[in-house]
Symmetry: C2
Amino acid sequence: MPVYADPDEGVTVSAYHLRSWTEQLLQQIRTPPDLAASVAEVLVASDLRGIASHGTARLAQYLKLVSAGVLDPTARAVKEGGKPALARFNACNGWGQPAARIAADDAIQRARDYGAAISLVRNTNHYGIAGWYAMRMAREGLVGISLTNAAAMVAPTRARIPMLGTNPIAVAAPAGRFGMVVLDMATSTVPRGRIEVAARRGESIPEGWAIGPDGSASLTPEAALKGALQPLGGSESSGGYKGYGLALVVELLTGVLAGAACGPHILGLFSTEGNSDLGQFFMAIDPDVLDAPHSFESRLESLLAELTAAPLIPNAPGPVLYPGQPEAERAAYQEARGIALDRATHATLLGLANDYGVPLPPVQNLPRT
Amino acid sequence: MPVYADPDEGVTVSAYHLRSWTEQLLQQIRTPPDLAASVAEVLVASDLRGIASHGTARLAQYLKLVSAGVLDPTARAVKEGGKPALARFNACNGWGQPAARIAADDAIQRARDYGAAISLVRNTNHYGIAGWYAMRMAREGLVGISLTNAAAMVAPTRARIPMLGTNPIAVAAPAGRFGMVVLDMATSTVPRGRIEVAARRGESIPEGWAIGPDGSASLTPEAALKGALQPLGGSESSGGYKGYGLALVVELLTGVLAGAACGPHILGLFSTEGNSDLGQFFMAIDPDVLDAPHSFESRLESLLAELTAAPLIPNAPGPVLYPGQPEAERAAYQEARGIALDRATHATLLGLANDYGVPLPPVQNLPRT
């Protein structure tokens, strides 16, 4: 399970102030206030949960896409029709976060009437953490599912080059005293960011994470960064074809079903060569259609009570956790204490503050470890 | 990817004859002819695809459940209501296969009208290969999803004992000249059957497959069989919490959502102590709601054409495959040549033939290797 800890050096900033600052910054580049609020909310939620790679650290790249004219900060998603349980939206190449939120909310409404509903989004951009939209559904008492495709970084089993994205799967559900179950996982063994961290620290990486440019298993992060990530499970002999299969299924339900870009054709977040045209999938399921209110939730709570009380393996680093627990604990801590930004992210945000004339809110130095 | 080959010793029998024999056998124990045909069709389809563990080799255990009075061979599934996109069925503790087929077919019909639809089934039994129901939907031009919970064999990350089933995920979709994509995977690294095979052959097993009864990684199949399977990804350091998360999500969408037995409370296929009360989930999505007919299918075909032509890693055992390809090839071969039954399975079926007075159809010896 991921462990969230403060960086060695950096600052803290309140979630409230970081959110307001992000909104102002986005408005400086012509984003309408409601869309800016939507982007800021998802980015700061990611920072709060400890997923720094998907939070405000992404702003600099987002702004490059806008400057390059490959993301339209003023565009609004439009519904393209469908049927009650399967609708499609065109994000018109605008911000991914508000388009995804509109699509997810539409699915929530239709799920209340029909029991379950899917929204697809095409012609969209990066939407932040997949789990945010699933959690939005779970907060309404629904089971929520959120999927997106992404730029090709993962090599299918036996292939030497990246052909599929890290294509995450997010599922959330209300869980009584446990809050929520929130599974939010890439279908690669690790995200690319984990390998970048190993490179910075001069560490080797375990087998099953990546292959080098020649296609052989890579144990150095440098070769891995020139090669491709491996799907969940690693190589063929350790079941990596299952991770490949999951990544392909996510692609099939997002890019292929929505009619967006697919597989190796996705330019992705770090290219300014053209539009991303990502495809996304949102599904809401209303358990109360079948049972008395909250009976689903209380059954899930009972299951989690049993799982988290299971006897442990030798040298377990702690009790059995449920998906989303470490992130929820990190969010509660950072909501109270402020969000920790590492030195590099802080410097990037200071640069944006200068460039766009939106001063950063007050920060506090993290205690040096 | 799995490789399917004939056993060292055994016989072949035509799929047609094996299906008829299975139907007759099931009718001998009071199964109505239409339900018997449904069970036989799924079991023989599994044998055809090379998944011998889920085929007619299971009949002996099925019959034990009936003899013990914990599976009612005459029961028929009834719909318990819901809404157009989310319905629930009660299998009334009858055969899992016909109940699942009725639920899947109902979801297909509703998906045509509403774009997508889910059927849940509770109070049911083992339904054979999860992929069969997803394939049934894909044959109708739909994306099909099929999930089931199962008796606890998998230890959650950090836990020492099995708490969740191998909870498979099956997704199928029509794919033009590639036939279908059929992902049908357990959320454990390997199924228990793979470890039983290693035990019979006196082989050791790799790390990431299982833990022994003391909770430490097991490299001997004997200890593994007394312990628990590990979730996909293996131990915590290699991302096994993702497999655990997927298994939990399957449990949440099947047992918990359907209101069936859950996690450690499932007795499962090999217990005659009580009813299985499994929970199952079926979803159909109709892509033609959004686009011209077959445009989804032709986009998926294009993606598969690219994936399967990717340059290969050194010493790749063959080209990049798509999920379901090895099984479809094995099915075509065995449809023509006859289904290979290993000696042990053949002996079991002969025993049933004797016990129930239903002579086995003609078989041919496999050439000795």
